[in-house]
């Protein structure tokens, strides 16, 4: 697995990765149906399955074709494996409000048997789904015809045992657990513990711990709701369990802080073990400083040694042993800093971008506007901007790096800041856990890119 990464300005060669278009899923027309807006993307632990959730409460799972060993000029394609309605809109009669069915997050459980399990959540309710395959069915009943009708008992003259015969593959999704009524505020995160028995769910003000088997009870482990709601100035924006340490989790806030908590310290983890916060740069202070410091996503590295946070303009890598500043900072779209007022006016400043690591923790990726997404190689310090667009949709076409011209003379092939389409935002991206395959969600399309295999 190549760890080196090719920047856009250099021609590909040697170990440099060249990203190619592989597939695009979703409607072609520009008229986006609200229900089709993709709200979450997640690979499973092996990378064989890729799940998406949308605003209409549906989950679509794609499965990678097993590679044809002879024709290995590309890795297997992802095809629809299962589609099901995970959440429906609900009405809370007490508060007189509708609960959106939009899927906020999907998290896979590691596979333990033939079936696959995932957790999906909307604003209020988490569900555990079992996805199982059926490729055989019993045939040859004594008392029933093949179509299910009961036979006339007088015609039954022999006894036989039904046998399993192959049938067309059927993939069934069934809800195994429903974890409801534990969140007053909107759930923004779910994270499965490394013990694979418990998981956490976080809303704006509280974090709860669940056991996967138990639905009528959860334990509150973080509560930042002030006694007087008028004093509220900070909310929880994301939370995640440590990948190896089953007693450790982190949560980020709207003020740009990350708190690491140890569940062994006390039942209610209101007092953090560590507080990660970068001191503010006084030369960059403005009325928008706090808003742009709000963390929209936090992800541990696979190794568990680092964590990555995404705020409005940058991606930061933190060493868990150093609380006072990040070890690496990458600017995603610094050219937006002078446009913050306009972005505040049109609400884009509140967009919540996610981020992800590659399998070896050497490259990180996040989305931006104009259907651009960015990758940063931590080793070479090179970065690249690519675009998810149907214009480059011939398979194995190498993606051309994009460049935004902040000011001054715009070079050929560059795009000026004022020409960026702020309605085309890439909020959700995912990286295959083992290979260089990435899934990038535009508003209603899912793009799959992979590195060029020679």
């Amino acid at each position: 697995q190549s760890g080196a990464f090719g920047g856009g300005c250099m021609s590909g060669g040697g170990n440099d990765i060249q990203w190619c278009f592989s597939q695009v899923k979703g409607a072609v027309d520009d008229d986006v149906a609200e229900a089709d807006i993709i709200s979450t993307v997640e690979f499973n632990h092996s990378g064989e399955l890729l799940a998406t959730g949308d605003k209409g409460g549906r989950v679509v799972i794609f499965q990678q074709e097993q590679e044809n060993k002879i024709q290995s000029h590309s890795r297997g394609e992802y095809n629809v494996y299962s589609t099901f309605q995970s959440h429906e809109p609900e009405f809370d009669y007490l508060k007189s409000l509708e609960i959106e069915e939009k899927i906020n997050k999907i998290r896979w459980l590691p596979q333990k048997n033939a079936a696959q399990f995932l957790l999906s959540t909307n604003d209020k309710t988490i569900k555990l789904w079992k996805i199982s395959e059926r490729d055989k069915r019993p045939e040859g009943y004594n008392l029933k015809e093949e179509d299910g009708r009961y036979r006339d008992p007088t015609t039954v003259t022999t006894l036989r045992v039904p046998v399993f015969r192959p049938m067309d593959l059927m993939v069934e999704a069934s809800p195994r657990r429903i974890f409801a009524n534990a969140h007053t505020y909107h759930i923004n995160s779910i994270s499965i513990n490394s013990d694979y028995e418990t998981y956490l769910s976080a809303d704006d003000l509280r974090i709860n711990l669940w056991h996967l088997e138990i639905t009528d009870r959860s334990f509150n482990i973080v509560d930042i709701k002030p006694a007087n709601m008028e004093e509220l100035t900070e909310v929880i924006t994301a939370a995640e369990f440590h990948p190896n340490s089953c007693n450790t989790f982190v949560y980020s806030s709207s003020k740009g802080t990350i708190r690491l908590c140890d569940m062994r310290a006390s039942a209610l983890c209101d007092r953090h073990s560590k507080l990660f916060e970068e001191p503010e740069d006084p030369s960059n202070r403005s009325f928008f400083s706090e808003i742009i410091s709000s963390i929209s996503d936090v992800k541990f590295s696979h190794s568990g040694r680092y964590m990555m946070t995404r705020d409005y303009l940058s991606v930061k890598i933190w060493d868990l042993n150093m609380e006072n500043r990040p070890v690496e900072t990458y600017q995603v779209h610094e050219y937006l800093r002078s446009k913050l007022c306009s972005l505040y006016e049109n609400d884009c400043i509140f967009d919540k971008f996610e981020c992800c690591w590659n399998g070896s923790d050497s490259v990180v990726m996040t989305g931006s506007y104009n259907n651009f997404f960015r990758m940063f190689d931590r080793n070479t310090k090179r970065d690249i901007t690519l675009e998810a667009s149907r214009e480059n949709n011939k398979p194995r076409t190498v993606l051309k790096p994009r460049k935004v011209c902040a000011s001054g003379k715009r070079k050929k092939d560059e795009i000026s800041v004022d020409s960026l389409d702020f309605n085309k935002k890439i909020l959700h991206t995912a990286w295959h856990p083992k290979e260089n395959i990435i899934a990038v969600a535009t508003t209603n399309n899912l793009y799959i890119f992979q590195d060029k295999v020679n």
Binding site: D204, S218, F288, S338, F350
Partner: protein, 241 residues
């Protein structure tokens, strides 16, 4: 009355200080933009509160921004209530260039109004307006999940935005009233929902031992009482207008 007084003072001031005119214009440019940012934020908050369930993170961030602006304006001594006449102007029209607000504090050192300069300019109108606004609004008219801290004078800002909303409710012709109250799906101008949104905070959600039933209703508390007080106040405003 107040506007005329203001104008007179403005004209007199400029005539007296021709030399500092350019400086004043730069100063007022920043103040103008800061004011329009404040107005924009208040409008956003109002819209938040009109939604039955606002996005809490967004609301908190906007409210914190408003608080920051208010604090700075209080320090500058330029904090004053908005006059009723200005209520009609759409705040977004006043958002001129966006660049200046995004510049860092260091860059704006020169442009910001010195405390002494601003005071004489606005002292008169402020002292005239204060008694009026504090009589009208003994409490924050704005409630809901949480409200803003700040000096009593900021009521004027809220009043302006609230006035705009109630104006809209008022101007709907009588024929629409049945539609207003019967249409569950359009909470925007549903009076019940607006008031619920202002009074209702979050219900506490016990996390232990839940038996899968609907969330418990809150018991009596001091915040509940003050919310009801504000509800009365809001209804009072409605009836008066």
């Amino acid at each position: 009355m107040f506007t005329r007084g203001l104008k007179r003072k403005c004209v007199g001031h400029e005539e007296d200080m021709e030399g500092a005119l350019a400086g004043l214009k730069t100063v007022s440019s920043y103040s103008l933009q800061r004011q329009s940012l404040l107005d924009m934020s208040l409008v956003k908050l109002q819209l938040c509160h009109m939604l039955v369930e606002p996005n809490l993170c967004r609301s908190v961030l906007i409210a914190n921004t408003v608080r920051q602006i208010q604090e700075e304006m209080t320090q500058d001594g330029t904090w004053r209530s908005v006059t009723p006449q200005e209520a009609g102007r759409a705040p977004l029209d006043r958002l001129v260039s966006t660049e200046i607000l995004c510049r860092s504090a260091w860059e704006q050192e020169g442009a910001r109004p010195a405390p002494g300069l601003g005071d004489g300019h606005v002292q008169g109108p402020v002292s005239d307006l204060c008694p009026v606004t504090s009589a009208q609004a003994p409490r924050h008219p704005q409630s809901g999940i949480w409200e803003l801290d700040g000096p009593r004078e900021d009521r004027g800002g809220f009043h302006k935005s609230l006035d705009q909303i109630f104006e809209t409710l008022e101007t709907k012709n009588p024929g629409c009233m049945e539609e207003l109250f019967s249409d569950v799906d359009s909470p925007y101008y549903d009076l019940d929902t607006v008031l619920t949104g202002m009074v209702g905070g979050a219900r506490p959600g016990p996390c232990e031992g839940l038996e899968g039933l609907a969330p418990a209703t809150p018991g009596p508390s001091s915040s509940c009482k003050s919310d009801l007080g504000e509800l009365d106040h809001v209804v009072e405003i409605l009836v008066e207008t």
